[in-house]
Symmetry: C2
Subunit: 443 residues, 2 copies
Amino acid sequence: MTAVGTVTELEVHDVRFPTSRRLDGSDAMNPDPDYSAAYLVLHTDGGPPGHGFCFTIGRGNEVMAAAIRALAPYVVGRPAPAGAAALAALHRDLTHDSQLRWLGPEKGVMQMAAGAVINAAWDLAAARAGLPVWEFLSGMTPAELVSLVDFRYVTDALTPDEALAILRTAEPGRAGRAARLRAEGYPAYTTSPGWLGYDDGKLVRLAKEAVADGFGQIKLKVGADLEEDKRRLRLAREAVGPGVRIAVDANQRWDVAEAVRWMTALAPFAPYWIEEPTSPDDVLGHAAVRSGQPVKVATGEHAANRVVFKQLLQAGAVDFVQIDAARVAGVNENLAILLLAAKYGVPVCPHAGGVGLCELVQHLAMFDYVAVSGSWDDRVIEYVDHLHEHFTDPVVVERGRYRAPSAPGFSARMEPESVAAHRFPDGPVWRGRPERPEQEVSR
Amino acid sequence: MTAVGTVTELEVHDVRFPTSRRLDGSDAMNPDPDYSAAYLVLHTDGGPPGHGFCFTIGRGNEVMAAAIRALAPYVVGRPAPAGAAALAALHRDLTHDSQLRWLGPEKGVMQMAAGAVINAAWDLAAARAGLPVWEFLSGMTPAELVSLVDFRYVTDALTPDEALAILRTAEPGRAGRAARLRAEGYPAYTTSPGWLGYDDGKLVRLAKEAVADGFGQIKLKVGADLEEDKRRLRLAREAVGPGVRIAVDANQRWDVAEAVRWMTALAPFAPYWIEEPTSPDDVLGHAAVRSGQPVKVATGEHAANRVVFKQLLQAGAVDFVQIDAARVAGVNENLAILLLAAKYGVPVCPHAGGVGLCELVQHLAMFDYVAVSGSWDDRVIEYVDHLHEHFTDPVVVERGRYRAPSAPGFSARMEPESVAAHRFPDGPVWRGRPERPEQEVSR
């Protein structure tokens, strides 16, 4: 835990992958995403750098890059963060600056930018400690972990003392669970078969491959057409057999009554959960959907911050909490959310996919297993099989499980060649194409 | 309603006023704001331009400017919007682009940027119609107004048919109320005395001036120190006498239990409402504060979108809905919020102040009176007496009331000299100062 050097530069790149050309990632709300990252490197004058990013689906990635740049004065010139105290202070400065706060508060572009910088600081600190982030976190004391959490606005649901008690309860079993995790890996499910733009043949083929690869759960995108959804669910069920769970994901497509109606119609196909049935801001709406139809409810990848998660739990609105590593204010805010979920006894099943989200979030789920919830029952990390080749420490998923990463850091470093090739708009992948990806504008 | 010309350019300026030098605008969360605007002009090849802006309090204003620039391709090249259909289509394109949506959805930086562009389009359309925006809106049919609203995610609280019924009920009285509004003006309250950074002498002097100026309500900032708050409330009450309402505003300072405790202690001083007791995202928290202590609850200036307002109303969390003209997606989304408030019978008391927020929001409150709620009982528009001199059609507040604006447009145009002088970082006001306003960073 020795601080080495000072942060000298925050380098930012607008990196975009032309995924829309193959309809990877297509769903009821996102017909043609170009998976992108506003990627940053924290350079220091000694020791390894830190890497972080915001994930976007194309247009607006330059706004995220501008937001990250706006945070440079808060991190450049600091000692390279090494331990809990420095990482807590950085999180506080980035999320509670009195002027920047006006742009959220704690939501949207500025919160994602803060998350990217905070995650980069964790990458840097864990790299200096020579540990992957999940082990770096799992090696902290309960008191250190509590000191990392911003309890503002959540004490009506979780106090620091309650958080400490949760962490202390899990403490004795840490070593045993870490050993089991290294031996067995963490359960995963795959969304690769289920993109809405894929034809039936591709759906069936990929669903069968998922089962052969050892996955116990797959996920299908739904919400564009009810009869189509029934047909695709039937096809998927025939492909995977009765023993594999099929979750469905509406990507915020419905109003409350429509969600209830649609899922009542899909319930006979026994979907495992319905994900994002409606607006991610609609706590009361999710509660109404959960009580109005028989399928379990999952949400969280677009929940803006811990205050929204707190309410989802208080209102009994969700069966599964889906954290995202790059939507909220980094490791610190996700730690608050993991503790809230543990307090309410709701399993955390992280959202992943995109660019590098699998790489990041595996660390948080594994830390949750080792040191917070102490369980992986009913828990699975999403897995999508694309774009991992652009990372220097890509996830390894075998027999339906994430292998515990062992390289130091947050698995957040992109291959320099990938960054250079996909820089928007001047990288070779984009040069000669229209300056912006095509837009749908009604005139 | 004839379209004249095409939008040819979206011009953006980062404009900042050094208000922190005098502690104008200081409160428990915002000790030293530099009131700022990311200001835009929609130029056309015929007819008047449109003006709009996002309000910020300093740092990060350049991120807002970048977000507005990201929206240029959605508006440049369109016919200059003239009527409801074009204004509805623009709102839809700016808030539901499948890729940009990922950066919110519908919240924070991107939603404010969309709001600024949408409001500029309303300024342009009303200017072409030769009407102030409140009259332009009040001249639309109930069906046209309903067509402007995005009902996605709110139909469990308000259907298009219900909205139509609300507007039709108000329709017969429109002309009478418009005439009364022109004659009498709309009730206002003033926050000018209550900034936390002002000393007792300035507080008492400004409170007395407010009463002499005809205001029936003032507002004090609270939340930094309970004994100080009691003392200042006592001073203010002595200064204004028993007949003037004193609202208090905590600017999100408290957790739920603290808000209940603090306001229970302030209740003997009979504050008229407690504004922003806790996180603007905390619907359930506001409901708990409302039921846990005797003072009425107001919030909304930081509520991200119509989905949050919907829930505040569904949960019975607020006594007053405080719309902000520049936080949500422009006139269209505020129209949804006005209709929701009317459905639930909760009065709308707009947030204003900042840069140009009084100028914009007066139009929405007046339209609400004329054509939606049909009432100004228990309704007041916030008024703060600074920075109006930078607008070409500044608000006029006399004897505690906003005079109905008569100039065409949205009162959104800034004096070109003000824009040039306050451009950050290269305008004469900022040149020679540090590139960024001072930051508090804990190291």
